[in-house]
């Protein structure tokens, strides 16, 4: 039979959640070589808004957290198809082609160019995730062996019982900003093409266009870029970055390891000390956490002996 029970309302836990949410930060920088293009990214993520709701089975729902991408810098490196002319047969015969022209490349090597895209603070995703409430006794590893509980209390090196959230896999959905990001991407492609052909006179651009078709369409095809930019980000870029997994892992690391909803010092200073008297410390034993009737979060424990 526990001899202490702490009950917290959903609103109280919500406030605790908001307090730690604002310190969440995630960043990732990497690049990936794909079949037809490369993608480099410099990504930062923070959280805003959202709510926490109690569920049954000692779980909570993290609802509609705004994921702000800041920064989100992408560099898309496109390998253009080699543009060659020639190669035709100029002496056909009943035995086959007797003489074939060589191929000339209009570029001295396979051309490639980069499309930089800086859309930090523009894209905003929404994430919701279920999380199980878990209690953990966190031992203070850096406390020197033999240190007394009172010294540990005074120097902040006591152990703690921590209430954590084990966040389950998340689903990312772009909330807004995809239209603006799409326009910026469109503009970035235009600029990249402009730079690519800047050394060429207008007639040469027209000639290449006649042989290749509109360059922009060629690039959109390489990038598998549909009209719906949001779909492209969610289905391609997020997939390449493996963003749902990264975010889920980051949320799990943060809420399940680094940032407890709240914690209770163990041994607990049940009566605070004064200048003359030491505090009265009691150990916390057999602690447990649960959500009761979707209404309150309850931590129960046995107050042990004075250590």
């Amino acid at each position: 039979m526990p001899n202490i029970a702490i009950a917290l309302s959903e609103r109280s836990v919500q406030a605790m959640f908001s307090r730690i949410r604002q310190d969440f930060r995630f960043s990732d920088t990497d690049e990936k070589q794909l079949l037809l293009y490369t993608l480099e990214w410099d990504l930062g993520v923070r959280l805003e808004n959202g709510s926490l709701e109690f569920l049954s089975n000692d779980s909570v729902m993290l609802k509609e957290l705004d994921l702000i991408y800041d920064p989100l810098r992408l560099v898309i490196g496109v390998d253009l198809p080699e543009i060659t002319i020639g190669g035709q047969c100029i002496a056909p015969s009943p035995f086959g082609c007797l003489l074939r022209l060589p191929r000339w490349s209009l570029f001295s090597e396979s051309p490639d160019f980069s499309i930089p895209l800086d859309i930090g603070g523009i894209l905003r995703s929404e994430v919701s995730a279920k999380a199980r409430i878990r209690l953990r006794r966190q031992t203070e590893n850096i406390r020197p062996a033999g240190m007394s509980p009172h010294t540990a209390h005074e120097t902040g090196l006591s152990d703690h019982w921590q209430v954590l959230l084990d966040v389950e896999p998340v689903h990312l959905k772009i909330l807004d900003g995809a239209d603006i990001a799409g326009e910026l991407l469109d503009s970035a492609i235009d600029q990249a093409i402009e730079q690519l052909f800047a050394p060429l006179p207008g007639w040469a651009r027209s000639a290449i266009r006649s042989m290749l078709g509109p360059m922009k369409e060629v690039i959109r095809e390489i990038l598998e870029l549909p009209d719906d930019t949001q779909e492209w980000f969610e289905d391609n870029i997020w997939f390449i970055l493996d963003l749902p997994t990264l975010i889920a892992d980051a949320l799990l690391d943060y809420y399940a390891e680094e940032a407890p909803l709240f914690e209770i010092e163990d041994p607990y200073p049940i009566i605070g000390g004064t200048a003359e008297d030491l505090p009265v410390l009691v150990s916390i034993e057999n602690a447990a956490v649960s959500v009761h009737d979707n209404k309150e979060l309850v931590v129960t424990a046995r107050i042990g002996a004075e250590p």
């Binding site: 002496a91 007797l98 001295s108 042989m211």
Partner: protein, 233 residues
Amino acid sequence: MNVHLNPHSFRLQTLSSASLVQLCCLAHRLDDEGTYIGSVHLKKRRVGSFKVVVSGHSTADDSQMSIDLAQTALTLGAPTRISATISLGRPAYLLFYVSSGSGGYHVTLEKAEQNERTLVYDSRSLASNDLFTATFLKPGKHSVLTAPGGLTGTIQVVLPKASDEPAVLDEPVTIEVTDTALKPAKVKIKPGETVVFAVSSDRGTGISIDLEATSTAVVQPAPTPRGRTLRPR
């Protein structure tokens, strides 16, 4: 940005069979067995060489030997040598082309017999059965002139209408170069297409092509008299 445009392809204003550059080729037909020593010249300097053995009994089944004149000229001061055997089982051609650089090459060919070499070909004077090809990028009116002979013709390069689809490039157009005329004397093509000059004259002619006027007109070329398809004689 890491773009490497091939600038020579876009600067060409003049093409000449006597001074081979990118986008033009010269094919010379060899009708006799033997060993041929070729020399590659850049202006007045000999910059490379090659050896070709033409054999009626070779097992080689390729009737074409392509020689990149830019490659043979890569090692300045020490002419590059390449050698190959082609078969006379079918008409045998040497195809000279320039893959890179500003070009300006011509080729001479000597037949080696016993201890003697006999000059049998100089690409500055085209022989009968030679094929000189030019591929055009720049829209406009290009004039053709043969010398000696003074035959003239025009090649109109016309941009197709802007389209979302790449233009379909037609097969090369062949112009026959006889002693008295270019047949046909006028052709119309699209950028990226090729004209083949099939020489049937023994006058040792040369062919030069100059851009007379740049055109930015965008017109779908009307069906034009296409040259005949070359068949080996």
